[in-house]
Symmetry: C2
Subunit: 510 residues, 2 copies
């Protein structure tokens, strides 16, 4: 009944006021169903001028204002959901349920090697600490000596001091380098030769790279802090934040352990901290992490795995149309997993960790999804790594006189090597696709830098489209397909057929 | 070289200004590649405080402002394009090219009957004209008689005048009804029994329904104009627009022919007109119409036809999961064709026709894609029909004292009959799905009227989603599938299997 009343009071079918006003006769009030309704008593119902003015269609170019298209956004969301639900039905009809917990065959030796690396890798951070402890002890001795000569404020004294500082630093740097490289080398060697399962391998390699970067940042930051401690007059003052923990007081176990677990790759003696740990916040983030991990696992096992599997013979026969079709199909799943993975790692996991560590600066990423230049993407999607690269590679290189463009290229080169380590080593195929992908970013940056400024093609939208296409719709699924194929060619079902296939000519096999 | 320079001046990798300002040492100017660059000579590169303030992640609930998600809109567009391009590749690999001009088998008799109906149907509009010509002649005589009695301005005289007017009108209305119903009956009979091809049948039936509505509007409007002519004191004045062509001068061949071709179903003696015909505009609209027609044809022949064909056995065996899957797949093509068809008819065709006719009011539709209530959808997507329904059915019924809700239900009932005529008759299966679909709009209107006002579920978005789901993603493809199946069951490949199938129990066969 309420509904009928509501329909009755709706204006949808009412005569337009402008058109009607002239012909409105007397209006009588009438009691219908207990509510008072106004029934118009107009004589001429059939003559009002429906077409009374000249108007344009709202989609015409000569329309005064463009209508909103927000409804089409909703339609797009629905069509995406419906299309992919349909593909899920087809997938289930074709393969049944592929998700299976007991089916995973972790080799016993993989798990043992993995655990060993998990314990061994952080040990290198403690070695870094010991080296710094020795350097701090040496600096303390130098400080006493220098303070006696402090009155001599001449250029010659400056040069002598720098020489003396550097001769010590080269020794310190040597030990640091040996330690950091050893960490990376040992982990890579074990993952490449002894860990068969790519998942366990990836975790170990990730851990090693993170600790490698933390060691480097700890060593380099303390080098500058030490110099400032010994020669306070020769440079600008240190950040005000660091005053509560001056060098060499910061070289202590507690400070190191905080840096070990802090969600950053950049060492600072002092970080902005929050006052309390909100445990509710932590549990919500951990629940997100768990939920998203399950979603990614289902998507990979149920949708990506059969897709990758049945694209193998397309690569073997170099059927390019079918390869393109497979990459296109894979791209949706890969974008989906990538977005879930990004959120799980950078929003859920790092925020949970930061909350537990009372780490104040939660800017782990920017709004990279809106970027119009691929340059901006690489500086916003992964702030921990960007911060490391900026502080310890780009900025010192520019300081030494390198042209900024060259310093940027060097950063991408270094990042390319890390990417290849992280992807090529656990899959036991250092085929260079990840490295090439990173190097390919340099011309892409140059391209989108130009395109985003072109107004007549809506440069910002075009740049954003190029980013999504190159990165998520082509780059990632293609790379995934190539590494999967290389892995299968080495260990899997196609390794024999591969020897006689035309694809053999395209792949160099080790 | 320009690119390198541009990369060099980019700020992406530069140290953030706030963080750097404290440590900036002397700045030297250096000539590199002919351009002057500022190289910073800061001592402490590795110590600046990357993490200097407490910040939240931009996707966190406690973030100060929500970031823009415009990039995800672009991603959605791309994923939609890529997914559907992929389906096109799969379709081509599976079926090859299905588009074929010479393959269509129009029966000769279909074309002849169609042409006959094309000539016969408008004749009824001219019969309507002849009836009105007679009525106008009679009104002219009555006018002379009444003008003698004009002084008697009493209620009794009014009642007598109304009686006299109505007695004539009942005769006129009888002839109009016979003529209009005969038009619809003859066309429907020929289309249902003699035109096998559903395409030709649909065109003929559409033509007949349009002329039927035009006849009704012409008769009803002239009835009110005649009354106003005879009894000017008894009602409000007519629209100012009509003054240039007062009754009975408007009953002439030229005026009728203009209404015959004008892009409206509502008769007015005078319409707002444009000054000139922009032939460039006309050709652009016609080019759009041609292009979109080809696109719709390809989409139907290449994508919808095989999909409908291979869903037949799913309906025969009542495999509901597969029927759902087919409807989901069909929905994308059906939405696409619907949007193209809408644009082709309501934007391109009607605007072209309006331009040639110098018809001023081009509001053939509103921004129905943004509707949050299904009520608004039905009043905005097809303004010509809405205008007819409002002026000649809804508004007179409400004027006679019907509750507005009941009048609306009656409009949907009438519209449901027309929809069934337009779909059921050309497919030779009056199975009532189109009629039921229209009647189903009434509870849907009641539902979305409520939902759009609920704030905590973003009612407007929810209402819009319900509109798209019910109308474009379920309603249309399901109806298309059912009519296709019914047609195939009567004439096509499955007519024999159908007798023994479980689906037989669900379909009543005539």
């Amino acid at each position: 009944m309420a509904t009928i009343t509501q329909m009755a009071t709706g204006t949808a079918f009412d005569v337009p006021q402008a058109g009607l006003s002239r012909y409105r006769g007397t209006t009588t009030e009438q009691k219908v169903n207990g509510t008072t309704k106004r029934i118009r008593d107009t004589k001429y119902r059939h003559v009002f001028a429906t077409h009374s003015v000249t108007r344009t269609s709202c989609l015409s170019h000569d329309a005064e204002s463009s209508p909103s298209f927000v409804g089409f956004r909703n339609l797009m969301i629905l069509v995406l959901i419906v299309s992919n639900l349909r593909l899920m039905i087809v997938n289930l009809q074709k393969y049944g349920v592929l998700i299976c917990i007991s089916c995973h065959d972790y080799r016993r030796s993989d798990v043992i090697t993995g655990l060993l690396l998990y314990l061994l890798v952080p040990a290198h951070l403690f070695v870094t600490y010991l080296i710094e402890l020795a350097a701090a002890w040496q600096a303390d001795r130098a400080y006493t000596r220098i303070s006696k000569q402090r009155d001599e404020d001449t250029p010659a004294a400056y040069a002598a001091a720098l020489r003396s500082f550097n001769s010590t630093w080269y020794i310190v740097a040597f030990f640091h380098s040996v330690n950091a490289v050893a960490n990376l080398y040992i982990a890579t060697k074990y993952v490449y030769y002894d860990i068969y399962h790519p998942g366990i391998g990836t975790l170990c390699e990730f851990h090693a790279v993170i600790v490698f970067l933390k060691c480097a940042s700890y060593a380099l930051t303390n080098r500058d802090l030490r110099h400032a401690y010994l020669h306070p007059k020769q440079a600008d003052p240190l950040p005000a934040l660091y005053k509560t923990c001056p060098y060499p007081q910061n070289i202590n176990m507690k400070n190191l352990c905080y840096f070990w677990w802090a969600p950053t790759l950049v060492y600072q003696p002092v970080y902005p901290r929050t006052d309390t740990i909100r445990w509710g916040f932590v549990f919500k983030r951990l629940a997100e992490l768990a939920g998203l991990s399950i979603v990614i696992w289902i998507a990979s096992a149920q949708y990506a795995a059969p897709l990758l599997q049945n694209s193998l013979d397309k690569i073997l026969t170099l059927n390019f149309t079918s390869i393109v079709e497979r990459v296109m199909k894979l791209s949706t799943i890969s974008v989906f997993c990538w977005l879930c993975g990004f959120f799980a790692l950078f929003q859920s996991a790092l925020n949970a960790l930061a909350e537990v560590m009372r780490f104040g600066d939660r800017e782990f990423y920017g709004d990279w999804w809106n970027v119009s230049s691929i340059r901006t993407y690489w500086t916003t999607w992964n702030k921990p790594v960007t911060n490391f690269m900026r502080r310890h590679i780009y900025s010192p290189l520019v300081g030494r006189g390198w042209p900024p463009a060259l310093a940027q290229i060097f950063v991408f080169f270094f990042s390319g090597i890390l990417h290849e380590l992280l992807v090529g080593v656990p899959t036991h195929n250092i085929i260079g696709v990840a490295f090439a992908g990173m190097m390919f970013q340099i011309p892409m940056i140059a391209l989108t830098d130009v395109i985003q400024k072109v107004k007549w093609i809506q440069g910002k939208v075009a740049g954003n489209m190029i980013f999504w296409i190159s990165f998520c719709l082509v780059g990632q699924p293609l790379a995934a397909l190539l590494y999967f194929f290389a892995w299968q060619a080495k260990y899997g079902s196609v390794s024999k057929q591969f020897q006689e296939s035309p694809a053999m000519h395209l792949f160099l096999r080790r």
